[in-house]
């Protein structure tokens, strides 16, 4: 018998601090596997966000920068301009990317920065305890919208992938989901393509990964994946939004 599945060398041995059933763990693994399979691990430089993944620099087995909240695309820009042959990626949550960091991600995409962004969208602020995010669904309960997001008061969720796809500098944008095995495998393909986009110097690449937050959604891991499939996917349609 031979090993057909083992932990990639692009992850360190440190046990993830994420909650049980949190899909961050799956996404970290897919990113690390993609880097290993593309053979670019020794020229990868990652930028960790502020959010649940703030300790990402302890998990990815490559050179890493911690970034201020929202600023990862700017930090990545600085790194990539200094090391154009490095494979530079940012790993960001929905608060980091779509709230405080909206200017940075839009302009990195507009400039066609040859970086790869992994955007983890779980429609809530996880690390700080479950506040509303720009991606929170209408009616979804959060600690800062305790009766559910009211569109007349604080508007509608932002579809980042569609938004960025309007920019000419964006070369590859796809939205994927974590809710079952087939979708996890589709996500891995998308993440690999997003790195290939950078390696081939085509422009800015982003994969938006619809993810679960069992703890702050108040659901079990199984129920959280069902909410992902039944509530998140209809609001955030899956698929390729841009490919040049």
């Amino acid at each position: 018998m031979e090993k057909v599945f083992k932990k990639t060398s692009m992850l360190t041995d440190k046990i993830f601090h994420y909650c049980p059933g949190c899909t961050h763990g799956i996404i970290h693994r897919l990113v690390a596997e993609a880097l290993e399979e593309l053979g670019v691990g020794d020229r990868a430089i990652g930028v960790a966000p502020v959010g649940c993944a703030v300790f990402a620099y302890e998990y990815f087995n490559c050179d890493m920068h911690e970034a201020a909240h929202g600023r990862a695309p700017a930090v990545a820009t600085g790194i990539k301009r200094v090391h154009p042959d490095a494979v530079v990626f940012t790993y960001q949550g929905d608060g980091d990317l779509a709230a405080i960091g909206m200017a940075e991600i839009v302009h990195a995409a507009a400039r066609g920065e040859k970086i790869t962004t992994i955007f983890v969208n779980n429609a809530i602020y996880g690390m700080t305890g479950g506040q509303m995010a720009p991606t929170t669904l209408v009616g979804q309960k959060t600690t800062t919208a305790p009766d559910g997001r009211l569109a007349s008061h604080c508007g509608y969720p932002v579809r980042v992938s569609e938004l960025l796809a309007t920019l000419d500098g964006a070369a590859y944008i796809e939205r994927v989901s974590m809710h079952d095995v087939a979708n996890v495998m589709r996500a891995k393909k998308a993440i690999k393509k997003a790195f290939e986009c950078q390696i081939e110097r085509r422009g800015f690449a982003l994969v938006e990964v619809l993810s679960s937050c069992p703890t702050n959604w108040g659901l079990s891991p199984k129920e959280a994946l069902e909410y992902l499939r039944d509530a998140m996917v209809p609001c955030y349609p899956l698929g390729v939004k841009k490919e040049v």
Binding site: V47, D63, M64, A68, V75, T77, I79, V82, H107, R111
Partner: protein
């Protein structure tokens, strides 16, 4: 190398390039726009990279990335833009990264004015951003000095792994003076083995550019390390100019372009029999407290006078240095107004007459 007549902003940019800076990230704001514009033209000529960021916040974070990746990198702005950069500067200081930041100070607070001021002294020297950190603050009084300080600033930044801020003002930025570009005295700079370059050489540790230490003991240890570094810098890098101090009864403290007004005033004052001198800090952090302590201890010294284009910011550090031994008076203008040499002499007269 021949002397060249240059506008301050452009000379500062050229000085950075002469010092090996190949990355500049900035954003337009009056009165420093010539710096990014000059960099946009010159950096591609030397194989460097200029990028206009979408904001000053984005620019300082690009600096953080590029510096962590091992490059000599600079940004510039003016007062409100430097306010925006404060979080980023705290991160750069916390991650022990080198960089040069230029502030061509304008009037504040808020949107303020576009005329020169010295109202960012607190912002520059007392943190500005959050946390227990310091940055080296250099205060040029002429364009030549600005050039020399920028060039040496990159070496200081690399030697100690610390941000270096050039605190200029709109006058330094906009006026033209003859300058020459001479390399600073040679320093032994350590190699940047900590930089992120892609982890292909496994003989070095994996690079982690970071300022997060969630364990209190680890964070305290980090802070103690920083404080030790700041102590070393204070011992080695404090710079001050003393002028006409030997027989001075009245000592003026002034920095930057205002010190030139004061020099004119001193000539006038002495011709009237007022024995006045000047202590001009060239590093605002580390502040040359010893110069003030020593002067205050001298029997012949009657009083001090701080002259600033502010409500009295460096004035507080002068008072701390004098430590109550002699009175410390203040003369200031704000809003972009510049005290005249005559107003300085008038103040000295008042001090002599005991008013």
């Amino acid at each position: 190398m021949a002397r060249k007549l240059m506008k301050g902003n452009e000379a500062v940019a050229e000085a950075a390039i002469q010092a090996g800076c190949r990355y500049f990230f900035g954003y337009p704001i009056t009165p420093q726009n010539e710096i990014p514009e000059y960099m946009a033209r010159r950096l591609p000529e030397v194989g460097g990279c200029f990028l206009q960021a979408e904001s000053e916040i984005s620019a300082i974070n690009m600096v953080y990335g590029a510096s962590g990746a091992g490059a000599r990198v600079m940004t510039s702005s003016s007062s409100p833009g430097i306010s925006l950069k404060q979080e980023g500067i705290s991160y750069i200081a916390g991650a022990e990264l080198p960089c040069v930041i230029v502030n061509m100070v304008r009037g504040g607070p808020g949107l303020g004015g576009i005329q020169p001021g010295q109202s960012d002294y607190f912002q520059a020297t007392k943190g500005g951003g959050h946390g227990d950190y310091r940055i080296v603050v250099l205060a040029p009084a002429s364009i030549q000095e600005a050039v020399d300080m920028v060039m040496e600033g990159f070496d200081i930044a690399d030697q100690y792994r610390i941000p270096v801020l050039l605190l200029g003002d709109g006058m330094i930025g906009q006026m033209m003076e003859p300058v020459e570009f001479n390399p600073p005295p040679k320093r032994d700079l350590p190699p940047k083995t900590w930089a992120s370059t892609g982890w292909s050489d496994k003989r070095r540790p994996r690079a982690v550019i970071n300022s997060l230490y969630i364990d209190p003991n680890e964070l305290e240890a980090m802070n103690l390390k920083l404080q030790g570094k700041y102590k070393t810098i204070a011992e080695n890098e404090t710079r001050v100019e003393e002028y006409l101090l030997d027989d001075a009864q009245y000592i003026i403290a002034a920095y930057g372009t205002i010190s030139r007004i004061v020099r004119s005033a001193l000539a006038s004052a002495r011709s009237e029999g007022i024995r006045a001198g000047l202590i001009r800090p060239k590093t605002l952090w580390p502040f040359p407290s010893a110069a003030f302590e020593n002067a205050a201890a001298r029997e012949g010294v009657e009083a001090f006078l701080t002259v600033e284009m502010s409500s009295g910011q460096m004035h507080e550090d002068v008072r701390l240095g004098v430590n109550g031994k002699k009175p410390v008076h203040f003369l200031g203008r704000m809003g972009g107004n510049v005290p005249s040499p005559e107003s300085v002499v008038e103040k000295l007269r008042e001090m002599k007459e005991g008013k």
